[in-house]
């Protein structure tokens, strides 16, 4: 296989993480499966992860995309902790940080300011998200 081929076929790795006490993982499962079918490698964290577990997974798995699913409303507490952890391990700059769930507009502003790249709320389509990842996955 030639070098060019290898580069265009680079497999995108995504972490789908459920963080905090929120136990609603149906959405995360559906997204994990859709991303898999789009040809991505998906690492699913399982439920009830602490922010430092999400950081551990994002660093060790060297994912291109960190997808954080929060439906509990605790995003203002949990997301910054994850972002800080990623920075601590030098794993923030070349990673796409996505948040999925119910995030009020005011909070969205703030999360973006902290370094979240995109937020997908209710009604966002799979295609939208997959296209976004294809277009914005970091060059490495």
């Amino acid at each position: 296989m030639s070098v060019e081929q290898e580069q265009t076929e680079r497999t995108i790795r995504c972490l789908v993480a459920k963080v905090g006490l929120d136990g609603h993982d149906r959405g995360a499962h559906v997204i994990a499966r859709a991303l898999r079918d789009a040809g991505f490698e998906v690492i699913y964290s399982g439920l009830h992860r602490a922010p430092d577990e999400v950081v551990q997974a994002a660093v060790q798995e060297d994912v291109d995309v960190v997808g954080i699913s929060i439906l509990s409303g605790a995003h203002n507490t949990l997301v910054p902790k994850i972002l800080d952890g990623l920075k601590e391990y030098d794993a923030f700059d070349d990673r796409l940080i996505l948040v999925g769930g119910i995030v009020p507009d005011d909070d969205q502003e703030e999360l973006r300011g902290q370094g979240v790249d995109e937020i997908f709320g209710p009604g966002a389509s799979m295609e939208e998200m997959i296209d976004y990842i294809h277009e914005n996955a970091p060059e490495r």
């Binding site: 079918d37 490698e41 690492i43 399982g46 997974a57 660093v59």
Partner: protein
């Protein structure tokens, strides 16, 4: 030496993760990385864990890793999952079971997918083990579903191979005969609290007795790495060292999700490690492993060279057409493509 290698050797987690990514992607330059790392390896114990889906491999690995961590040892785990042959995508879920080591950075867990198209999963696994070893991990665990030749090749990167068998799987035990039974150094009947565990242990014991007639009880039997090009191999030298002592694989019963039997399992692994050292087989295995690695790389690189040459000659299809028309045959085609290579080698040999 690249910055990445320097960062890895300095103990930076993100550098280790990135090196494994480059290994997986076969990114340009990954070979130089492995070459640089090789001299820093050789200190880790490598343990392979295999078994049928749902046998409890990830759960057991989690508990084993946690116990090693309690002893103050650093651990690296590589968990290999199948990928879809259609989309190439995969959901790698082994991480879910790593609950006992949550947030512990010195427990490095990496999921790898068996990317069909790139092939050479065993090469990628070997290289990832090299990276973890160079990073300074004391224990490296390679976990994979034991289903076929690919997996057998993967666990061969390990010094000690553990095979997990769930109870009540009479037919599964039968299936094990085809290759998996031979590679196990330690057998684990997990979920030993379930009905049928005793029977499974019994069946395993009978089957393991059946294999005692083999010339070498190690999983690196002399036949499986037989040289393909008739080159003299020094594998045989190692056979003489301690012919009298053979390894009888123990059968350990565990209930991994409760942590029962984990200590016994670790004792069995340690015993096998001592046996390898005592008999000099550890060195023998390492020799065989490197020999196999060299052969694999030679095969892959030579193959790549020949694919280019085929393309230059107009692609394989045009040869296939000729073979279908009965104008020529596969052997003649191969001779034709290889002829310049042979001539070139002959020439070089004369020169030297």
């Amino acid at each position: 030496m690249s910055d990445l290698v320097a960062d890895l050797l300095a103990g930076k987690h993100s550098a280790l993760a990135r090196v494994i990514t480059q290994i997986e992607n076969r990114s340009p330059g990954y070979r130089e990385i492995i070459s640089d790392l090789h001299q820093h390896t050789g200190t880790a114990d490598v343990i392979g864990v295999t078994g049928s889906p749902g046998a409890g491999k990830s759960t057991l690995v989690d508990k084993v890793a946690a116990t090693y961590r309690e002893q103050g040892q650093t651990v690296g785990v590589i968990a290999i999952d199948p990928s879809s042959p259609f989309s190439g995508g995969a959901v790698l879920g082994d991480r879910i079971r790593m609950a006992s080591n949550a947030g512990d950075m010195d427990m490095f867990f990496r999921s790898m997918s068996a990317r069909g198209s790139l092939g050479g999963l065993s090469t990628a696994t070997t290289d990832a083990v090299t990276a973890l070893d160079a990073f300074g991990k004391d224990k490296i665990i390679v976990e994979t579903v034991g289903a076929g030749q690919n997996e057998v090749d993967i666990v061969r990167t390990a010094d000690t191979v553990a095979v997990l068998v769930p109870p009540g799987s009479g037919d599964d035990v039968q299936m094990l005969k085809a290759g998996i039974l031979e590679i196990g150094d330690v057998f684990v009947v997990n979920k030993a609290d379930l009905d049928g565990a005793d029977r499974t242990v019994q069946q395993l014991r009978e089957m393991l007795q059946g294999r005692s007639g083999r010339p070498d009880s190690g999983h690196h039997g002399p036949t499986e790495l037989a040289p393909e090009h008739g080159d003299a191999s020094d594998d045989d030298l190692d056979e003489e060292e301690d012919e009298s002592e053979t390894w009888n694989p123990p059968i350990v019963e565990t209930v991994a999700n409760r942590g029962d039997g984990v200590e016994d399992f670790l004792d069995a692994l340690a015993n096998h490690g001592e046996y390898l050292d005592r008999t000099g087989r550890r060195e023998g295995q390492a020799r065989e492993r490197f020999a196999a690695e060299i052969r694999t790389l030679l095969r892959e690189d030579a193959n790549e060279l020949l694919v280019d040459e085929l393309d230059r000659r107009g692609g394989i299809e045009h040869y296939v057409d000729a073979v279908i028309e009965r104008d020529t045959d596969p052997y003649t085609v191969v001779d034709e493509v290889l002829a310049p290579l042979r001539a070139c080698l002959d020439e070089r040999r004369d020169e030297s």
